[in-house]
Amino acid sequence: MTVHTGPHPTRRLILQGAVSVALIGLGNLPFVPAHAAANDKYPEEAFKLKNEADAIKALYGRTAEPSDKVKLDAPEIAENGGVVPMSVTTTLDKVSSISFFVAENPNALAASYKFPDGTIPAVANRLKMAKTSNVTAIVEADGKLYSATKEVKVTVGGCGG
């Protein structure tokens, strides 16, 4: 019996690689402060801010409402805090961006992805986490912001059992 849980892992890895490349490429673009996610400019200011609320404001200029239409998949306890796999999918329409915030990291905004019209709104990436923290995913859809939050524990390890 086979249960299909998602895209083939290999394909997912390649897709993820492509998004990372695009994100790095954006780093060379000039900085434009307000509502950066709504346009094509690199949100340098938002990435520099320490506090999550400030970073959300700098990136989007408003706050998000929690929604069960945003599905954030992240481990309960990270197997390696240096590379914590996380993914977001959503059933929302007209998604234009998805962003990840790690509240306890030195800079809360960890990644922000833009979605051209007609793109499947799904992204998987691996984030570095300094310590146990809430992780918030924000989906920008049809001009509104929706969020999901999950606490991910980072531990020094050892056991147990």
């Binding site: 849980t5 083939h8 892992p9 290999t10 890895l13 481990p75 306890i77 197997e79 606490e151 056991c159």
Partner: protein, 581 residues
Amino acid sequence: MAIRRRDFLLSSAVAAASVALPRLARGTEAASIYDIERFGNARILHTTDTHAQLNPVYFREPSINIGIGDMAGRPPHLVGRAFLERFGIRSDSADAYAFTSIEFEKSAGRFGKLGGFAHLKTLIDRLRNDVGEKRTILVDGGDLWQGTGLANVMQGRDMVEVANLLGIEAMTGHWEFTYGEQALRDNLEHFKGEFLAQNVFLTEEAAFNDAAAFDKTTGRVFKPSIIKELGGHRVAVIGQAFPYVPIAHPKRFTPDWTFGIREEELQKHVDALRGTDKVDAVILLSHNGMDVDLKLASRVSGIDVILGGHTHDAVPQPIAVKNSGGTTLVTNAGSNGKFLAVLDLALDKGRVSDVKYHLLPVYSELLKPDPAMAELIGKLRAPVVTDWSEKIATPDRLLYRRDNFVGPVDELICAALRTELDAEIALSPGFRWGLTALSGQPITMEDVLAETAITYPETYVQEMTGAEIKDVLEDVCDNLFNADPYHQQGGDMVRSGGLSYACSPTNAIGSRISELKLDNGRAISATRRYKVAGWASVNGQQGAPVWDVVGKYLRSGRMFQEKLGSGVTLKGVDGNPGIAG
């Protein structure tokens, strides 16, 4: 023996009145406690966390097993008299001895050792014969292959042979993974049952490199479940391995695999079993630990019963948990072969209409060892354990490990580490396996190995600042007392020697540990560096195996240090029924 038999008779008779368990109702002779009234049309037998204990053992249940928040005062966080009251067990009965720490040494003399695979085999065969062929399945929840020197040397192969003779048809794992992928796969080649784990997946790198997997589409490394026809109905058993293997143990053992609770994948699998495969019952064979299982049962629907392990909680009755699809029963079946769980199901088309559950203590005095199993155990042990039979010490007090914070076994290990490695402070992992030894009884290297036999036993000495020591204590303490069970890994508090501290379990991480002091009473300074010895590090270490360090220490005639290792002062948990009065 005659006296013992009378003790069992007495305890059975009184227990029958107060507990009203069917198995005690016809207590005309001692062994009749294993006469279980026929019920339903399928019987699932469950062992878990036997930790490779081939022969009967003494194992003292905890006198401290604190639950906080929603878990306070609820099974499994009940000990001593609170436990007896909750489950209606008489304090002088054999069951009180099996399930609690009350008057342990006195009762050990009356009721003897529990468990042993030859005794288990006799009991299992009897309970299978009672209901007839094609109506039973025997499943094991893992931690079957680890816990003795023999299992460690044989990388669990001894237990595969024992499991085959016992007739284990499905199992999942935890310590099994610490032998590494190759040894695990070699063992599974010989295992006649199925190794099930719905929650172990290839890492993306391993999938990219085309590593071996049961299902390359999903990335699942192992078969997630089996379906067995029992009593004319289809019963699915899903395996749930310990979710935090690469966190609790060195990642080098399982570099290609990623674990986790995997609720969503589990829900999809349950839905598929019900929707596509049209099974009549779904059982989760889990190594999550009981608190995790209780939370999971409230969030995943469609599972009839979770047969649980890992946290070594011997819970006599299932706990019913409501969820969006109905009710799920959650059990936990103790450890070290002390108990056999019997789940009788009344199955209808597509549903379980009723269940009866018994957690039977395996009283070795009441069960004749199965000759074939006894012979196999003898054959497996003989070439290896003779080297470990030398008596190396005779402790003047009861040796046990289980309790949230301290235990005499770990005090000895810490004393050995501090003395042999010349360290101010020793740290030792809060494992929940490891046997109990009675006061005045000689112990051997085999006994030492039964407390220490792991695949990463190397000791270390390192300098740590006071702040780093506190961080380690805080981190491990959060594994026990995080308000969210999904953030607990199981196990008990790291043991410390040469160090005392206060602990407030109900606080948040970072503020549970205070008043750190050396044994001489001097406060630990956050910035000063201390010489710390330990073992079982998740990072690679080079020191001698801990059993050699402990063996050398005991052979030199030393035992407990004058100041008994660390003292831990508990704060904010007065009256918690997880602390024996």
